[in-house]
């Protein structure tokens, strides 16, 4: 078999493709490298979760201390909506379920009613409760954001469920606090 004839060394082809595709092995190594790089982030997040939980807890405790233990029956109905939307036996569905329309509708309604309630409070109390509720809301938003980055994180999912339940409990309590006093 004869091959092409060349007159200059530089005429030889520089490109010689490998006999097999080497990319899959390289891609595997890259995936491993990216996973390794992600580890420190995860660890940082591990340290961050308790902080979020603590922030939510602080907000909840602050609101709870102010309001007292005034639970009403329809509070249970609100919590039932969360449980219906977020089955405990399917952690992967929790976040999505929490966003179901029924839950959101009830929560938004509660926030509206609580806002109206706040307007009837003395300024000092209104400021205190409002700040606590804002902290609580931000904590939940932070958890949701963290879940957006790490959707499969069971700890965050659980934290979101617990915080959302607490949110409903606190909102219900704030809303009904006047009725108790009455």
């Amino acid at each position: 078999m004869t091959t092409r004839r060349v007159k200059d060394l530089a005429e030889l082809p520089r490109d010689i493709p490998p006999a097999r595709d080497l990319w899959p092995a390289i891609a595997e190594a890259i995936r491993a490298d990216l996973a390794m790089k992600a580890v420190p982030d995860s660890r940082r997040r591990v340290g961050w979760w308790p902080a979020v939980g603590l922030a939510a807890s602080v907000a909840l405790v602050a609101v709870g201390v102010f309001i007292g233990k005034n639970f009403k029956q329809d509070q249970d109905q609100a919590l039932a909506a969360i449980h219906t939307a977020a089955p405990d036996n399917d952690a992967g569905m929790i976040k999505a379920s929490l966003r179901q329309a029924e839950y959101e509708k009830q929560r938004d309604q509660l926030w509206t009613e609580v806002q109206a309630k706040l307007n009837t409070m003395p300024p000092a109390e209104r400021e205190k409760v409002g700040a606590s509720l804002a902290t609580l809301k931000k904590s939940i938003k932070d958890i949701e954001d963290a879940l957006g980055r790490d959707p499969a994180n069971a700890l965050l999912q659980e934290l979101l469920v617990n915080s959302s339940q607490e949110e409903m409990r606190v909102l219900t309590t704030v809303r009904d606090s006047g009725r108790q006093e009455l």
């Binding site: 004839r5 060349v6 010689i16 490998p18 080497l22 890259i30």
Partner: protein, 181 residues
């Protein structure tokens, strides 16, 4: 190295790959794998070893991307990594360097033959060269690197690179005249 037309195309891909975009890096791989493999194959003379070197070189390149300076040629940078990988794979002790009294004596890296030579015959002749001479011939004569760049890649003195190329040319001519082996 001589101007490379793919350099500009590489810039955007390199930038994306530096940001962790594996798809962009795959495109760089597809663009450069033939040339890197050709280089490794000619230096190692073994297809399996060459494939290993290519794989390792691209993995090293991925990991080293954050240190890659955008002003440099990605191709040259990649070849440097590939050459280094080949040298690491050889593991054996470094061959004794051939020194020259006048480093300017063997400047011309190209090699023109009096009569056309069959590609296959030429590749076989290159393959038969001693390691040091082959490395210099492949990098300077075939891939167009200046002596300084090639010497830097190989970790040898510029004068040694010139001497090895001179030696390679003499041996190549001699082997082609007598039918290689």
């Amino acid at each position: 190295m001589k101007p490379d037309t793919v350099v500009n195309f590489d810039v955007a891909l390199v930038e994306r790959a530096r940001g962790g975009d594996a798809k962009a890096f795959e495109r760089l791989y597809r663009e450069h794998v033939g040339r890197v493999h050709g280089l490794c194959l000619r230096m190692t003379r073994n297809p399996d070893t060459a494939a290993d070197c290519v794989q390792d070189a691209f993995i090293k390149a991925w990991k080293a991307l954050p240190r890659f300076e955008a002003r440099a040629s990605f191709s040259t940078w990649l070849h440097r990594i590939a050459v280094n990988t080949v040298l690491e794979k050889r593991r054996g002790p470094a061959k004794a360097e051939i020194s020259v009294e006048d480093p300017g004596e063997y400047e011309e890296p190209t090699m023109v033959f009096d009569t056309p030579v069959e590609e296959e015959e030429l590749e076989a002749a290159i393959e038969s060269l001693p390691q040091g001479a082959r490395d210099a011939l492949v990098l300077c004569g075939l891939y167009g690197y200046e002596h300084q760049e090639a010497a830097s890649m190989l970790g040898i003195a510029v004068g040694t690179c010139k001497a090895q190329l001179h030696r390679a040319r003499g041996l190549l001519k001699e082997r082609l005249e007598r039918g290689v082996r």
